[in-house]
Amino acid sequence: MFDISPAEWTAILLSLRVAVIATLVATPFGIALAWLLARRDFWGKSVLDALVHLPLVLPPVVTGYLLLLSFGRKGLIGSFLADHLGIVFAFRWTGAALACGVMAFPLLVRPMRLSIEAIDRRLEQAAETLGAAPWKVFFTVTLPLALPGVLAGMVLGFAKAIGEFGATITFVSNIPGETQTISSAIYSLIQTPDGDAAAGRLVIVSIVLAIGALIAAEWFAHRATQRLHGN
């Protein structure tokens, strides 16, 4: 039962690569956006907030299709990136990472935003009176205090990214070795006669990864409280 075949390993490793890249690329944007939403009031803030959460409520197939329209080879952004920077998303693993990153983004931003909102702003004032310019305050006080929330957001985003299915398969299809992640491999396997055992193994791998991520996120949240109390 637990002999994971090379083809299954390929899907698992591809999923890990896609999810790691998606999480790492999304994180700086996530932090910036979380800070903006937690700290700034500006025109169109609620629109931006809604936009960030859109992938959470849209049917994934719609998000995938919109990605195909904009980042596909004929899409406005896709053709620009392909012509000028040589970056191609369509039917590549990079496209899977993009789809997973977009789908995971709302989950990634939320804990980051909450942890930034929880920081006592008087500590930032104290830092300023000690001679720290605003960007130094951010990197020496705000970000370290928000770090457990940032890590929790990354873990949740990663867990979402590794399981993403609808948007990925719509945008980059289901090509073994290139875009076939764990989820799309399971989907193919359960439509194949005799695929049940293999599908079962991948299902167990998915469950283990998901539970591990939840435990890690919980642990980071616990660390956050300790950190804010200076123990």
Binding site: R122, A127, T129, L130, G131, A132, G230, N231
Partner: protein, 220 residues
Amino acid sequence: MLRVDVEKQLGEFSLSASFSSEGRVIGLFGASGAGKSSLVNMIAGLLRPDRGTIAIDGEIVDDTAAGIHVPTYRRRIGYVFQDARLFPHLSVAQNLDYGRRMNGLAPDPAQHKRIIDLLDIGALRDRRPGKLSGGERQRVALGRALLSKPRLLLLDEPLGALDEGRKLEILPYLVRLRDEANVPMVYVSHDVAELRQLATQIVMLKQGRVTSFGGVKVLT
């Protein structure tokens, strides 16, 4: 040393204060709600006056007519808050070193040792702020502010959050600081006894106005 002439509207409350002092410790006295904290926050640059000027050590840090507002982090002030505000994610030693690092100052072991001895905080170095008593926290906050080499030290009711016993524990340190640290201070308090011991000059505030100014004897 310090010249203040400002006006500020805060909701229903209007603050209008003007004084100039060369004193070593300016005591800012008044009941709660008299505008003491707002005034100190304006000197620190955390609050912007609607109109007026503030000069520290001859340098104009606020002048609304000329559009000058030096941001807090460039004012080279020290600020000790009532609630200490130590950084919870840093050790005591890192808290103490914070101002020096942010201002890009070279390490000054002699000054470092002098202030740590003066405040008796050497034994706390490796602890986290969460593990300190209220009095210890306030002494570390004092050290942290002094080690950033400020040209003016602002203290906003630094004993306000402490019980009587703790107050008596910290007061001698403040007196030593006044006599040995050589940094002019603005000391905010509503406690006459505290100011009698510490201040060399008094600015008395009542409902946003300066009602008297002079030596400690104005505290009748």
